[in-house]
Symmetry: C2
Subunit: 309 residues, 2 copies
């Protein structure tokens, strides 16, 4: 089943202990769509500026990602500059320029309308909601957000959350959103805001899913489920790891005919696999060069990483 | 097979968001021996002062722990005061009084000499080494240490590490000991110092084991193995969780006839189970009241927490 994703297609300047790159193709929707494209058909909604040319377009095309919904506007694309010099787990933002995103009014191409899966990557919750409302018939909606929207745009965020089936955020965001430092209690608080399932991303420690009675068509609510992360020889660039996790997770879900606890668990592992690959090179480089065979090989390593038998 | 453990038997004053207690029985060897006593015979080597009376002795006796090696000295027992008010993952130390531990010269009772497993809980590495040298015939030696010894007693610590098969420390300690922020590289560095296997404890994110060619009698060195931790409804008191992890882990290992990757993995899960129980009440309270049935029940929840099938 096809996924439509709305989010940023952007340019990043990033410095990590391994090096630095300037104005390379990035953005949550880019990482998400590259990662999910290994599992299913992916369609992007975003806005880019005049700096988005054939070279950037080709990155999507090479993975068969539908770019009909990427609007070209005059001006520059969204730009982010950050570094991970002291802490590989948390970016330090040096500069954010919304540019063409400041006046973005997302439109859904007709050819996207039969998408059964919708992912609202981290952008203004007002835009996320607008896209959600234009696609009332999707089967499953998941989304992401960040501390900025939680702190300064909470009413809009809470409205958006009501339209989600699943939310994927990190530890700090989950605790901040629920106003509760205990993760289990915070998860319950977030689930009461709308999404029936919450995935909390722990960076190098993996991710944990929290369920409710609406998560699956099963009688008992499953215990939380934790997917590990792989200890890596070198974390070259953690940018986009969370979006790649989301892409692997949601892409695998969309590729399966049914939503069972077992399918969900495998999806979490595929999310971790894609997140681990994203960190191995700068920007989207590793995701661009990846093969499905490599993905499935690493899936088996992840299984071994945490299985008793 | 019986375990001998050397370490602190102490009194703690602790404040957590859930409350406060004054001068209660604690110490690494206490938590370790309570946790491991559910799996095998346990014998303690420590020194206590005149404040250690029948009430404290009874806690060990109730779990059939051999206290022959607990020396009574004049003066007060080791005392620690700390709090977890801002961060449940890291204690803030307010006061440490070595007291009788300042002049401790550990003696091995003859009745302990047939112990096949030895655990050197976190104390002065000089003392750890002295005990290690007095028990040259043990089958497996594991130990713990902390930032204080890494920073200010490194030569003695490095000597001690040469006598270990396994080291159990936390993330910060592993990175500090190896002088490397990448966990995989740090693990390799620590393994080069002596122990053939390293377990890195991640607090609420579980623990990861790193192996070398000497870890098992198998041809290929296994990938790292990660045991999860259980998201808890309330973390009442994290004191002793790491020592309880070590006790569950080492106790289960000692209870098994052989050391295979599968046995090791189950031992890691039992470690996580004991660590999770330790946090549920103040001090050693929960470990004192626990049953083996409850342990095995939670083991199954841990399995479900991270298994695909």
């Amino acid at each position: 089943m096809a996924i439509t994703v709305v989010g940023s297609v952007a340019f990043d300047t990033v410095e990590t202990p391994a090096g630095r790159y300037e104005r390379q193709l990035a953005g949550a929707a880019t990482y998400f769509s590259l990662a999910s494209s290994f599992f299913t058909d992916v369609r992007v909604i975003a806005v880019v500026g005049e700096d988005f040319g054939p070279e950037q377009e080709a990155v999507f095309k090479a993975r068969n990602i539908d770019t009909t919904g990427i609007e070209r506007a005059s001006g520059k694309s969204f730009f982010w500059e950050g570094s991970y010099l002291e802490n590989l787990n948390e970016a330090k933002t040096h500069n954010t320029e919304l540019n063409v995103f400041a006046t973005f009014n997302p439109q859904i191409p007709d050819s996207y309308r039969d998408s059964e899966f919708l992912f609202l990557a981290n952008i203004d919750p007002v835009l996320q909601r607008r896209v959600r409302e234009q696609m009332p018939d999707v089967k499953l909606v998941a989304g992401d957000t960040m501390n900025y929207w939680i702190k300064d745009h909470k009413p809009a965020l809470l409205e958006m959350l009501k339209g989600l089936d699943m939310l994927l955020i990190n530890d700090t965001e989950a605790r901040m959103l629920a106003g509760n430092n205990n993760l289990l209690q915070a998860a319950r608080g977030v689930i009461a805001m709308g999404p029936h399932t919450l995935i909390v991303k722990h960076g190098e420690y993996g991710a944990t899913a929290f369920f409710s009675e609406k998560s699956f068509a099963v009688e008992t609510v499953p215990h939380p489920f934790r997917a590990p992360a792989l200890p890596l020889e070198e974390v070259v660039d953690p940018t986009g790891a969370g979006d790649s996790f989301a892409g692997g997770f949601f892409g695998y879900l969309a590729s399966q005919g049914e939503m069972t606890p077992a399918v969900f668990r495998r999806a979490m592992f595929y999310g971790s696999v894609m997140g681990s690959y994203a960190c191995e090179r700068f920007g989207t480089e590793r995701l661009q060069q990846l093969t499905r065979e490599e993905i499935d090989k690493r899936f088996l390593i992840f299984r071994e990483l945490t299985h008793l038998d």
